[in-house]
C-alpha cells in the first residue's frame, strides 16, 4: 500500500472520530444545561474546551451558544465539527480509489449536507431568531452519519492493510480523547474537596459517562450506583467497552500487529515494543495502583505513549528515509 494512502486513511479516520467525539461532547453538555446552577455553566464549558485539548482558535467568552456554534461551524478550524468533516472528506477524496464506493458516498453526502450554503445561513438566521437554541438536530445527524460510515466501512471494505490503518487512526484518536476527557474531570472525580461537592455531582458523573457513550454500559456492570473509582475503572480498564482506554489501546495494538504482519517485518521492533507495552500496562493494572500513583500523571503517560506510537508509525511506514528502505 502506498505510504501516502496509509497517511490519508489514518487521518480520514482520526478526523471523523474527532468530529463524532466533539459532537457528542457538545450534545451532552447542552443537555446538562437544562439542569444547571448559575456557577456550574462556567466550569462545565471550560472543561469541554479542556477535554478537546484547549484548541487555540476557540475562546470561551461566557456564552455557551456562541461556543457551541464555534465548535460546530467554524469552517477553517480543525477543531470544529465542520472542519473535521471537511478534512476527513478531503483525505477520503485523495484516496477515492482505495475506499469503497459506499464509504465515499456516505461521507460525501455528509459533507455536501454540512457545507451547503443554506446550511450556514439557516443556522445563522435561527440563531438570531432564537438566541438560546442549539443545533441539536444537526449534531445528532452528524453522529448518525459517522456511525453509518463506520458500519459501511466494516461491511464493504476489505479488512486488509488499508482498513487496519483506519482502525489505527480511529482508536488512536479515541484513546487520546478519552485520556483528555478523564483528565478534564479530575476535580470532580477524585479530588476530595468537599466544598466542590454540592449534592449534584452525580449529574457531572453522568455527563462524563455519557460523553463516552458509557452510561448504559456502565450500569450493566456496576448498576446505576455512580462512584468515582468505578467510573474511572470502567473508562480506563474495562476490557469490553469500545470507548474505554484499554479497549481502544488494545484495538489499536491489534490493528498495528496486522499491519506489521503485512508490511512491517523486522523493521517494526520499536513500534511493537511501545504499543505492546502500553497495551500490557492497561491490561494488567488495577485502578487502586493507578490512583495511588497519581491519576493525572498516569493519563499524561498514556498520552505521551500515544504520541510516541504516532511518531513511530510515521517513521516506519510513511516518512522513512530512502536510504533505510534501499538497505532493507
Amino acid at each position: 500500500m502506498l505510504s501516502r494512502v496509509a497517511d490519508s486513511l489514518y487521518w480520514m479516520s482520526r478526523y471523523l472520530e474527532r468530529a463524532e467525539h466533539t459532537t457528542r461532547l457538545l450534545d451532552v453538555n447542552l443537555n446538562l444545561m437544562l439542569d444547571e446552577s448559575a456557577n456550574s455553566a462556567e466550569r462545565r464549558w471550560q472543561r469541554v474546551l479542556q477535554s478537546l485539548g484547549s484548541p487555540k482558535d476557540v475562546t470561551w467568552d461566557r456564552d455557551p451558544f456562541a461556543l457551541t456554534r464555534q465548535l460546530t461551524f467554524a469552517a477553517h478550524s480543525q477543531s470544529s465539527v465542520l472542519g473535521c468533516i471537511v478534512a476527513a472528506r478531503e483525505n477520503a477524496r485523495h484516496v477515492r480509489e482505495q475506499i469503497s464506493t459506499e464509504m465515499w458516498q456516505r461521507l460525501n453526502s455528509l459533507y455536501l449536507q454540512v457545507t451547503r450554503p443554506e446550511m450556514q445561513s439557516d443556522m445563522h438566521a435561527e440563531a438570531l431568531l432564537r438566541e438560546h437554541e442549539a443545533p441539536t438536530e444537526f449534531l445528532s445527524q452528524v453522529m448518525e452519519a459517522v456511525h453509518q460510515f463506520q458500519g459501511v466501512t466494516d461491511s464493504t471494505m476489505s479488512h486488509g492493510e488499508g482498513w487496519q490503518f483506519i482502525q489505527v487512526g480511529r482508536y488512536m484518536e479515541r484513546a487520546s480523547a478519552t485520556a483528555m476527557l478523564l483528565e478534564s474531570y479530575q476535580d470532580e472525580l477524585w479530588r476530595e474537596h468537599e466544598h466542590l461537592r454540592d449534592g449534584n455531582e452525580f449529574l457531572e458523573w453522568m455527563g462524563l459517562l455519557r460523553s463516552a457513550t458509557a452510561f448504559e454500559a456502565y450500569c450493566k456492570v456496576y448498576t446505576a450506583d455512580l462512584a468515582p473509582e468505578w467510573i474511572l475503572e470502567f473508562l480506563l480498564l474495562d476490557a469490553d467497552f469500545p470507548h474505554s482506554l484499554r479497549f481502544s489501546i488494545n484495538s489499536m495494538q491489534h490493528a498495528l500487529e496486522a499491519v506489521e504482519h503485512v508490511s512491517g517485518g523486522a523493521r517494526s521492533d520499536k513500534l511493537s515494543r511501545i504499543s505492546g507495552r502500553l497495551s500490557a500496562t492497561l491490561s494488567y493494572s488495577s485502578v487502586e495502583e493507578i490512583m495511588s500513583g497519581g491519576i493525572v500523571k498516569y493519563l499524561h503517560q498514556v498520552q505521551k505513549h500515544c504520541a510516541e506510537i504516532h511518531k513511530a508509525i510515521y517513521e516506519l511506514y510513511i516518512d522513512y528515509s530512502v536510504q533505510s528502505a534501499l538497505a532493507g
Binding site: 500500500m1 477524496r93 485523495h94
Partner: protein
C-alpha cells in the same frame, strides 16, 4: 422555420398520435440536426426514443434529471473549476436525452479512426527515428522541428512495441451535409472517458427500456482493454508488471477521472511525490518499503513530468523519470512528444500522412485549414478574419481561440498582430456549423451544438479491434441559447 416546426407536429400527430411535449418551439436551422431531417421529420432511429420520452409526464422527466444530477454529485463525479474559489466542484453538464448514432455511421467512424491513429503512430515513430516523411518532403521539416511539442529527447529512442499512442480522444463534428469530419486529434493526455462510462451507467439506470429496444453497443470493456494495453507495454515484457496511474493530484480538474480509472483497472493511483528514482529505476513508496514501477499511465503533461529534464519548476513530476525511461526501465503511456502529432498545423497534413504510410485515402476528412506560415493563406485569412476561427496550434479545449463572427474589431486586430508576429503558432479554419441536437433544459428541449469524442482502445494484437470501440461519447454543449 416555423412552418417546418409545424410540419413536425403535424406529421407526428398524423403518424402515431404522439405528442412530443417540450419540442413545440424547437426550430431547425442550417446546421445538421441529429434528431430531425431538413423536412422536419424525425430520423427513424430517434423514433423509439421520442416515443418513450413522450410517454413520460413532463414532471417525471425533470425528476429523472434531478435524480441523475444528485447521483453525480453524491458520487463525487465532478470536475474542478479553475480560477474560482479553491476547490469549487461542479458536476459535469449532462443531458438526459441521448444522442443516437446508427451502426452504419459508427462503423465508418470506427474504421476512419483506426486508420488515422495507425498513421499518426507511424508518423511519430518515423519523425523520431529515420524521418523518411521529412526526407521525402511530404511534411515540411521546419514545421515538425518548430513544433513546441516536438521533443528532441525522443530522437532515436526505442519505444516498447513502437506504441507511442496508447490513449486517444479524437474530436469529431458533423458538417451540414451530415458527414463526420475530424476537428482535432488529442494524443497527449486526453480526458473524459470516465464521464462517458459513468454517463452510460446512469443512463442505464434511468432508461433501462431504451437499452433493450436499441441494442446499444457496450462500452464497459474500456478499462480492461486499457489495462491489457498497458500490461503489454511492460519493459522486457516483464510478466507481472507493476502498473500505476500518475495523476497531478486531488486539485487537478480531472482528478475524479484518474481515481475512477485506477479503481476500474485495479491499479495504484500515484502522485509525483509517491515516486522516486534510483539507478534509473522508478520506485513507489509503500508502507512495506520501496516497490519497483514498470508501466506508468501518466496523466501529467510532458512539460511537468520530470523537473530534471523538462520544466524545472514542476512540483508534479518525478526527478530522473526521463532517464529511467530512456534506460528502458519504465514505460510511459502515452510516450513523450506525442503532442507533435496533434499540433494544429500538423493536423493540416494528416491526410497526406495517411496516404504516405498506408497508401489509403482518409476515411474521415479534415476541416479545411489555413496555415498562417504560408503567405498566401495568411493573406486570405487576414482579409476574412470575421468569417474565420483562429486557433493557437498547441492549445486545446477552447483556449487561445478567436471566433470570427462573435469577435470584436479590437479582438480581431489583436489576433492579426499575433498572427503576423508568430505565424507558425496559428492556423485558421472557416466557421463551421456544428450539428445540433435537442437537449433538455429547464422547460422543454432546446438545440445545442454538439461534437463527438470517441475513445478508441488498442487491442492486444496491436491495433484497435473493431467492435470494441466505445459508442457513446460525451456531448459538449457549445452554448447556443
Amino acid at each position: 422555420m416555423l412552418c417546418e416546426c409545424d410540419a413536425i407536429l403535424t406529421s407526428l400527430m398524423a403518424s402515431d398520435d404522439a405528442q412530443y411535449p417540450g419540442l413545440e418551439n424547437y426550430q431547425l436551422d442550417h446546421a445538421y440536426d441529429e434528431m430531425f431531417d431538413p423536412a422536419g421529420q424525425l430520423h427513424e432511429h430517434y423514433l423509439p426514443l421520442m416515443n418513450h420520452f413522450s410517454s413520460l409526464p413532463k414532471e417525471d422527466l425533470q425528476r429523472k434529471k434531478q435524480a441523475a444530477d444528485l447521483s453525480f454529485l453524491n458520487q463525487g463525479i465532478t470536475f474542478t473549476v479553475y480560477g474560482r474559489d479553491e476547490g469549487t466542484e461542479r458536476i459535469f453538464p449532462y443531458d438526459l436525452l441521448p444522442r443516437v448514432i446508427t451502426a452504419r455511421e459508427w462503423d465508418r467512424v470506427e474504421t476512419g479512426l483506426k486508420q488515422r491513429i495507425t498513421a499518426l503512430n507511424l508518423f511519430l515513430k518515423d519523425i523520431y527515428n529515420e524521418g523518411r516523411i521529412l526526407k521525402d518532403n511530404i511534411v515540411p521539416r521546419e514545421l515538425v522541428y518548430s513544433c513546441k511539442q516536438f521533443r528532441r529527447h525522443m530522437i532515436g529512442l526505442n519505444v516498447p512495441r513502437n506504441v507511442y499512442i496508447a490513449v486517444v480522444g479524437t474530436d469529431l463534428i458533423r458538417l451540414e451535409s451530415g458527414e463526420f469530419v475530424v476537428l482535432e486529434d488529442n494524443l497527449r493526455v486526453p480526458s473524459g472517458v470516465s464521464y462517458m462510462l459513468t454517463n452510460r451507467r446512469v443512463m442505464k439506470r434511468i432508461f433501462p427500456q431504451l437499452f433493450r429496444s436499441y441494442n446499444v453497443r457496450p462500452i464497459e470493456q474500456y478499462p480492461p482493454l486499457l489495462l491489457a494495453t498497458l500490461r503489454s507495454l511492460a519493459p522486457d515484457r516483464r510478466p507481472e508488471p507493476n502498473i500505476v496511474l500518475l495523476s497531478p493530484g486531488g486539485f487537478n480538474s480531472a482528478y475524479y477521472e484518474h481515481a475512477y480509472l485506477a479503481r476500474q483497472m485495479g491499479i495504484e493511483l500515484v502522485e509525483g511525490r509517491d515516486l522516486s528514482t534510483h539507478d534509473n529505476v522508478v520506485y513507489m513508496r509503500t508502507t512495506s518499503g520501496l516497490r519497483r514501477v514498470d508501466v506508468i499511465y501518466r496523466r501529467v503533461d510532458d512539460d511537468f513530468i520530470d523537473p530534471l529534464s523538462f520544466r524545472a519548476d514542476s512540483m508534479l513530476g518525478v526527478s530522473g523519470l526521463f532517464n529511467a525511461y530512456r534506460a528502458g526501465n519504465v514505460t510511459l503511456a502515452n510516450a513523450f512528444g506525442t503532442g507533435v502529432a496533434d499540433d494544429k498545423a500538423i493536423y493540416a497534413w494528416v491526410p497526406s500522412i495517411i496516404k504516405y504510410y498506408l497508401g489509403e485515402d482518409p476515411i474521415l476528412p479534415n476541416v479545411k485549414t489555413y496555415l498562417m506560415s504560408e503567405p498566401k493563406e495568411r493573406d486570405h485569412v487576414l482579409q476574412n478574419l470575421e468569417k474565420m476561427v483562429v486557433k493557437a496550434v498547441g492549445e486545446s479545449g477552447g483556449y487561445g481561440m478567436l471566433i470570427g463572427p462573435q469577435s470584436t474589431a479590437a479582438q480581431r486586430a489583436d489576433f492579426a498582430d499575433k498572427i503576423k508576429s508568430d505565424p507558425r503558432n496559428y492556423i485558421a479554419q472557416p466557421t463551421i456549423n456544428f450539428s445540433r441536437a435537442p437537449c433538455l433544459v429547464d422547460d422543454g428541449f432546446q438545440a445545442r451544438h454538439v461534437d463527438l469524442r470517441p475513445y478508441p482502445g488498442r487491442a492486444q494484437e496491436g491495433i484497435a479491434r473493431g467492435q470494441q470501440f466505445p459508442r457513446r461519447r460525451q456531448q459538449r454543449h457549445l452554448g447556443l441559447k
